[in-house]
Symmetry: C2
Subunit: 124 residues, 2 copies
């Protein structure tokens, strides 16, 4: 499930609160972007075609609902980045993060702790 930039905006709004109407989304995105109402509708239509979003009519108004989870979309985006820019491996990414100082010591510790817990509970 590959999303475009604009589609991410819509999906983020939808994940944040749903179901939602086009108008809801427009309000939610108000500070971020300044799209015409019809632009948002177009995006939603495309997302429905892609089966990323479900649409149900209530009266004459459509109500939308995400069909793909944020987790799933994130995974897909993450994998793409990895494949494209980091030789498809986590290693180079982590190295990069370390060098870029994007991770604070605290974040590193946190990640480590969670990974340990994971490894233990799964015994892998």
């Amino acid at each position: 499930m590959k999303l475009t930039e604009a589609e991410w905006q819509i999906m983020n709004a939808l994940w944040h609160k749903h179901p939602a109407t086009a108008r809801d989304i427009m309000d939610r995105l108000g500070d971020r972007v300044n799209w015409a109402y019809t632009t948002i509708k177009t995006m939603l239509t495309r997302l429905v075609e892609k089966k990323a979003v479900g649409e149900v009519k209530e009266g004459n108004t459509s109500v939308y609902e995400p069909l793909v989870s944020q987790q799933k979309a994130r995974l897909s985006a993450f994998r793409s980045l990895l494949d494209q820019a980091f030789d498809g491996a986590v290693g180079p990414l982590v190295h990069f993060l370390a060098e870029e100082k994007q991770l604070t010591a605290r974040e590193k510790a946190e990640l480590q702790k969670i990974l340990e817990r994971e490894a233990q509970s799964k015994g892998e």
Copy 2:
């Protein structure tokens, strides 16, 4: 410096070894993609326009060289991903990584190892 998918392919090849001719790149990418020579040339031309790549003629053949570092391109891609899919913060990404069951045990182990090494060598 935003690169498209195809452009990443070219850039990866260029970073791997440079300077390089279009033919070199084509050979290097041979197993990955199956582009016509002119496709690669088109990509290179666009990258030169974008100032991501430098071009120097040797005889009647162009030799190319990256003008943006891999590190820089990676940073830009990483930031885009973060902004787009992870609320612009490292925190959610870290959580995602930790929770994501799709990461192989191997990737997790690798991640952990690197973090440990990092933590040690930096003493933070």
